[in-house]
């Protein structure tokens, strides 16, 4: 048996007095594509951001690769991790955002090589080689020197995926990676993600693309109001949902 890549036990998160996550329990196995679906404001992004400690959980325990996120446990006590330790952990988790968040002052290749050089301290020539291969892999072989503004949304998102992969992460988080794209550009990004899944990357994907979830997903979870309403295999859940809320949500997006 192996440790799950992500494990959440009763994870709670509030902003001020508003509770956004009200006790999330789930497990993401290695090499699994885990899809999170749910209506707007249900806390999907917040949960994803807790996984790489962009948000701090208020209660419960969250583990990545068997290690507590953001804290060290000694006996009963929790100690906050230092900045440097948090950064080291984040560097092993790739994240792809809805609005790409590419660095606009750097070229496509510049975006990809930034973190391996700055964070891991790898040698520039090695990283450039790897970066070029990654850009080729996401279908941007001819765009190494283009700035983000000169790329289409789909191309930008593929650069963003390459940028995350350049850190050689053990886990990839996707927050609605295709929601900001024109319909005809969605396919090219999903193709890249499908390829990643085939290569055995562990992925947690927040998405409204039910087709992708059904085809590529190994597990799917429906969230609403900060709790998990229903979970299961994509095939069963998306075709034959058990809960009323899941049914009404799916009837709107399918």
């Amino acid at each position: 048996m192996s440790v799950p890549m992500v494990k959440a036990e009763g994870v709670r998160k509030s902003f001020g007095s508003v509770e956004v996550l009200s006790g999330i329990d789930l497990e993401v196995a290695r090499r699994e594509v885990f899809c999170l679906i749910g209506p707007s404001g249900s806390g999907k992004s917040t949960f994803l951001r807790c996984i790489n400690h962009l948000e701090q959980v208020n209660a419960g325990r969250l583990y990545v690769d068997g290690e507590l996120v953001g804290y060290r446990q000694k006996g009963e006590k929790l100690y906050e991790l230092r900045d440097r330790e948090v950064c080291a952990k984040r560097s092993e988790i790739g994240m792809v955002f809805q609005h790409f968040n590419l660095f606009p002052h750097k070229t496509a290749l510049g975006n990809v090589i930034e973190a391996p050089i700055q964070v891991k301290g790898e040698s520039k020539s090695v990283v450039i080689e790897r970066g070029k291969k990654l850009l080729d892999r996401v279908g941007l072989g001819s765009k190494h020197d283009a700035y983000p503004r000169q790329l289409s949304g789909g191309q930008q998102q593929r650069v963003a995926i390459a940028r995350a992969l350049a850190m050689e992460p053990k886990l990839m988080l996707f927050d609605e990676p295709t929601s900001a794209l024109d319909p005809e550009l969605v396919g090219e990004v999903l193709d890249v993600m499908r390829g990643l899944a085939e290569d055995g990357m562990t992925m947690v994907v927040v998405t409204h693309e039910m087709g992708f979830a059904r085809e590529v997903g190994d597990a799917v979870v429906f969230m609403d109001g900060g709790v998990i309403v229903e979970s299961g295999s994509p095939r069963e859940m998306l075709t034959n949902p058990q809960h009323e809320r899941t049914k009404s949500f799916l009837s709107k997006v399918l």
Partner: protein, 326 residues
């Protein structure tokens, strides 16, 4: 005046059916009338300047490249560069401090800005100059403990040092506000993306946020530099022989006040013009990545207007989108 060329872009690659647009440009008679009026006024002004003997152009010419004036010019430039350097470096520190979550750190920055922006720079210069009267000795050592080195402020704060401190520290307060605005103008998503990649706060600031803030920071910094160049003339009151004081020393002796002030004015105009030109290129550099096509340099504009060789394709021009996926 302005040539309208509506056919631009249609000369090449047109298919047989599409005729180029050839149209008579709109006439602007008002522009011609106002242009003639302005030319006449300028001619009158120049005539008055040249023929009025009181301006004593011969004296202007005599002193323009004289040694004391050129020395003053160098001091003006030195003061500008050093004070701006202090202003920018300290301004970045103050801006980052101001945005800190630690209330004491951000409070300290606030107090600094409050003090230096709240008092006239002339007064600050006078205070630095007369600091010797306030603290006659400055010592380096452990606070409230033994002292290692002791300086006499009369030697420490020479007029030039007082001017550099006064102008630089005052400038830092203004620069920090400009830089803070620049930092705030950078999308929060940039910081998040950098942090998600594992970059530390400092690296995120230095590699991701500050370079993007530059685009917002550079234009007002150019204005600050030009303004600083002129503000250095205040140092004349504390006996720093910069350009203005150099001129004053001469006319104090020769009583040729107006011609020597004209010498100073022309030099200031030359320097500020050069700075404005430099500002354009610096802005252009920091705009890379944020615009699809770069603004033309004046030389490129001239070439485009007067036909010359076709422009080389701009490096930033979007390339045709051909590639497929995997």
């Amino acid at each position: 005046m302005d040539k309208v060329s509506p056919a631009v872009g249609t000369e090449s690659g047109q298919s047989a059916g599409s005729a180029p647009v050839v149209a008579v440009p709109v006439r602007h008679p008002g522009r011609w009338v106002s242009a003639v009026l302005i030319v006449v006024l300028i001619a009158m002004l120049v005539n008055g300047l040249v023929t009025n003997p009181n301006f004593q152009w011969a004296v202007v010419k005599q002193w323009f490249f004289s040694e004391p004036i050129l020395k003053g010019l160098v001091v003006t430039l030195e003061l500008t560069v050093i004070a701006m350097f202090i202003g920018v470096v300290l301004g970045v520190v103050l801006a980052v401090m101001r945005l800190s979550t630690n209330p004491i750190v951000s409070g300290a920055s606030w107090v600094y800005i409050w003090f230096f922006r709240g008092t006239p720079v002339l007064v600050q210069l006078l205070i630095w100059f007369n600091l010797a009267a306030l603290y006659s000795v400055v010592s380096l050592g452990i606070p409230f403990g033994p002292e290692f080195v002791t300086f006499n402020t009369n030697n420490l704060i020479a007029p030039l040092v007082a001017a550099i401190l006064g102008l630089g520290l005052n400038e830092a307060a203004y620069m920090s506000e400009i830089i803070r605005a620049g930092i705030l103008s950078v999308d929060q998503g940039q910081t998040e993306a950098a942090q998600a990649l594992g970059m530390s706060r400092l690296k995120t600031m230095r590699r991701i946020v500050l370079p993007q803030a530059m685009r917002v920071v550079v234009p007002p910094t150019g204005n600050e530099t030009i303004s600083m160049l002129k503000t250095t003339s205040l140092a004349s009151v504390i006996a720093v022989t910069e350009l203005l004081y150099a001129a004053q020393i001469i006319y104090g002796r020769t009583f040729q006040t107006i011609p020597l002030l004209i010498v100073a004015v022309i030099w200031y105009l030359i320097l500020t013009s050069i700075l404005s030109g430099g500002q354009f290129y610096v802005e252009r550099y920091f705009a890379r990545g944020s615009v699809r096509t770069m603004p033309l340099t004046p030389i490129q504009k001239l070439r485009r207007r007067f036909g010359g060789a076709p422009l080389p394709p701009a490096r930033e021009a979007p390339a045709p989108n051909l590639e497929g996926i995997r």
